[in-house]
Symmetry: C2
Subunit: 563 residues, 2 copies
């Protein structure tokens, strides 16, 4: 049966000599914050260092980082950080790792490093970058890396083979196998086959679409669909997609040219990334096609196409503002066309459909993946993963990048191609996997928590703060402030009672004052002068009252001031 | 062009003599809290009175009700309430309407009224019920009703034709056109055709699946899929579905019989609804098939099938507890089978996939609509709606039950069958539509708010409380309590500063005490003794500090006690 370690809690023993250790600090059991640590002979190599975008259970949090505790004490043992591609869930946490080790060598492709450099600039960091291309080899201590071209929803993505005396590991990064990619840069299945001939001891493989049968359609099939939609449009056209999806944007630009529309980019990250893509020659833009938004607004609507961020319903994005009718410059009207040429990331449905409904209400025609083929995924479906396993013929497999449902499906695919179930290992974040004599085994588990970024500060918002936020967000609070004579415990003034997030009714808490006064009489009679005990008594009596009267659970906050 | 009233804000004028007025108090522009008010000659007829389940923007709220204000002053003008079927979004708010008018006649089919009676019992109400069947006619003042059988995801659903001197209106309720329904009770397309021959002045039509091309597959096609899954299972099998989906449960029971498994119902609403369905003969249960959960747990796992609630990831449901591994009686283990024979309601994805991942992690095999045909929708797809329009041939059409994207798609279907665009009207909640001389027109708009139920209380939680909850939920609060001498404004003790939901770091607010003390010295020197003004000064200085130091926005709550 597939190796899993759902109950394993113990710390791992020391790594046997000649063995390779693998620990994911993020990305297994979740989609996001990908980070894998490889250890050989006391030295470390890290692949990717991304962020996770928070969901409802982490209110107020901006980002979630991988938990660096497992490597914090060994920060100088790290030989290098290898980045597979430039998406946020693979590079977003790099600045936070560089705070611990500013001179860490960071290895990646040209576009990946350009995006990272832009990010580091915002953090006022100058990272130590080493650019690599597919086909190249690098050496970082005992770790020898070889890079392979892979196709994904961002240009210039790489898989990395890591050779150590313990064996050869292939980490796919995010991958799909588009057989007619727009830039002609195929996933290097031939290279994987050669590596397979040599012998792959362990493959870490993208699981995101392992549940999806068949094959991802070609990216280039989207072009004609966009052409049909945009060719028919007679008014304003807005296309929203991910700001890093250069090939998607290329197809939009080609359609704009064909229909004599000039193009303006909308949204900070779109403008920035497309600037980088143009500089690096990753996108072909005919002279004079691009204009800025102010210029675009001067032209007839039928002569312009806007390429915008906001495809995930982000509330502050330009597209969301247009949908609410409060964009400063752009008013949507009946007959406009909006294309969402993007995925719908699970968890964003309410936000995205909110934007769609807002735009539809204003009369726009909305084209999205549910009613036209304007998006294809960047991750290999089951059929492609079979090609991958049959090329690599790995001895051991460790599914990565996925929730449990994706990981199990990926393990099953590996097993279907002949990898023994006992050699597939689902190692959720923190599970320590050792490759010893060519066989994977689970060696233990290191503690992995969530590290939250909220505003300027990292790590001070933790589970206790989040749990308070959840309680406050559900029920608000009732605060009761009393000043007592520190000698007698007698209340020196009537209690001050107020609530926020509890009720709109100004009389909702009228009874509480009398209730608290009566409780204070009791504590005084009992000779209780300790402010903490008085506060406890107040909390208890108010909590009971509110549960019985309203069946609600606000936070009850007594403050007792001895004066 | 389709009539819409997105900007119309004015109150409607008086209803012309001989005209019919239609106002939706809920259900248009949203999925849920369906309620439509018809007015003729000063008298009202209401169709449905349901609830909406809250989303993230209404934290802590249990239910959202239609806004009754538009009819509150005219509560005695209501002739009757007609219920199309027994789903919560059609009957859930009835007890709240009955509080205003306990003797209101409530008309509905047998199963609908049985579910309503059970609900009213929990509210200690005894409603005045009038049972009807398809084919029957009733009269309520000037409103003559005729009822038609319709097929949906609950038995005994009805459409209602309302005849008044102003014309004939058909309200479909929720509807699909399964041509081989399990109970043989077809949507009465023949009746609709007859009504069409007679002349339908206005059709209000379910929009939920208007965007979905083609036809909903047959409910009965699910049986063989369930048989394949359950027939292969050798361990525990749990099937989760909606508690009111009697035909789905019937198919599960049939499969259980075929594979010699006995059945226990799990979940309060499942047990209650199936009890009613058995009593009314709507479900066929062989003698001895049903056992209770305690009994089921005594039998070998291969001899039992559990039918459970929790298909939407409800955190307190038995299924969620099993997924977290903290169900008191049932531990999921590798090889168990869980079938989610249900839809995935938009907005519930995170919760549902959380449950799926939890179960997969424990080793269960999960069968759901994405990997097997174990669910079909209860709402007509576009192809079926075309049949409906071609049978009814309505002069005017008003799409209901949907968000804007669904409503627009439904209007387009009506128009494709020949209804002039100027006779289709998208009247979101509160828009007043008059049918005058056989032509719809928009007469104005009544104000429609959200009415929230939180715990025992209705309506006291409003926008201000929710906005406070959102702020508290995102950033927590910092409270500062100071006692000042009421004569001089001098602080009589150091300020008490505390935060909840702000930081896990006990020193996070250390600087605030000194900051507030310095501000209090300033206000004292300036001779400020008014507690309100002192509080304002404290709020300002702490708010600025926290924004600059943390870039966060907790609620700042100063309390100034004059002593």
């Amino acid at each position: 049966m597939t190796l899993t370690a759902t109950d394993q809690r113990g710390a791992p023993g020391p790594l046997p000599e000649g063995a390779l250790r693998i620990v994911a600090l993020g990305g297994i059991g979740e989609i996001g914050k990908n980070m894998t640590v490889f250890e050989y002979d006391g030295r470390l190599l890290i692949v990717d260092c991304g962020v996770l975008f928070p969901e409802d259970d982490s209110p107020g949090v901006d980002l979630i980082l991988p938990d660096f505790r497992a490597i914090e004490d060994r920060i100088d043992d790290i030989e290098a950080l290898v980045l597979t591609h430039g998406h946020e869930d693979h590079i977003g946490a790099v600045p936070f790792l560089l705070r611990l080790r500013p001179d860490l060598p960071v290895i990646g492709s040209r576009f990946t490093l350009a995006l990272l450099a832009a990010k580091c600039k915002e953090h006022r960091q100058v990272p130590r970058l080493q650019e690599v291309k597919e086909g190249e080899h690098t050496r970082h201590g005992a770790f020898q890396c070889e890079f392979f071209a892979v196709n994904h929803s961002i240009p210039d993505a790489l898989a990395v083979a890591i050779r150590t005396p313990a064996g050869t590991v292939l980490h796919t990064g995010d991958i799909k196998l588009d057989q007619l990619p727009l830039d002609g840069r195929l996933t290097d299945l031939a290279g994987f086959s050669r590596l397979g001939d040599e012998g792959v001891d362990l493959a870490l493989v993208d699981s995101t679409n392992a549940e999806v049968p068949g094959f991802v359609p070609l990216e280039r099939d989207i072009g004609p669909v966009l052409d049909g939609v945009i060719g028919k449009a007679t008014q304003r056209v807005i296309v929203a997609c991910f700001a890093s999806h250069v090939h998607r944007v290329q197809q939009v630009l080609d359609v704009a040219v064909a229909h004599r529309r000039r193009v303006a980019f909308v949204g900070r990250s779109m403008v920035r990334n497309m600037g980088i893509a143009v500089d690096l020659g990753l996108i072909k833009v005919p002279e004079g096609l691009l204009i800025d938004l102010d210029e675009a607004l001067q032209l007839p609507e039928s002569k312009v196409l806007l390429v915008s961020t906001g495809s995930q319903g982000e509330p502050l994005s330009a597209l969301s503002r247009m949908a609410r009718g409060d964009h400063r410059q752009i008013s949507i009207r009946a007959g406009d066309t909006v294309v969402l040429a993007s995925s719908l990331i699970p968890g964003n449905e309410t936000a995205v459909f909110g934007v769609v409904n807002g735009l539809v209400r204003l009369g726009a025609q909305i084209v999205h993946q549910a009613n036209a083929k304007v998006h294809v995924s960047g991750h290999a479906s089951a059929g492609e993963l079979l090609y991958l396993y049959n090329a690599l013929r790995p001895s051991n497999v460790m599914p990565v990048h996925g929730e449990w449902r994706h990981l199990r499906a990926n393990a099953a695919l590996a097993e279907a191609t002949g990898v023994p179930a006992s050699r597939t290992v689902i190692a959720e974040d923190g599970v320590v996997v050792d490759l010893i004599d060519g066989i994977v085994q689970i060696a233990g588990r290191v503690e992995i928590g969530h590290v939250y970024v909220d505003g300027l500060s990292v790590g001070d918002v933790g589970e206790s703060t989040l749990s308070d936020r959840l309680v406050l967000g559900e029920g608000g609070f009732i605060s009761i402030t009393v000043a007592i004579d520190s000698a007698t415990g007698r209340a020196v003034a009537p209690p001050t009672v107020s609530g926020r997030g509890f009720s709109d009714d100004p009389k909702a808490l009228d009874e509480v004052v009398a209730l608290v006064e009566s409780e204070l009489s009791r504590t005084e009679v009992e000779g209780i002068t300790d402010p903490h005990r008085v506060a406890q008594a107040v909390r208890r009596v108010v909590g009971r009252w509110v549960a019985a009267t309203y069946r609600r659970r606000p936070m009850i906050i007594p403050t007792v001031l001895p004066v």
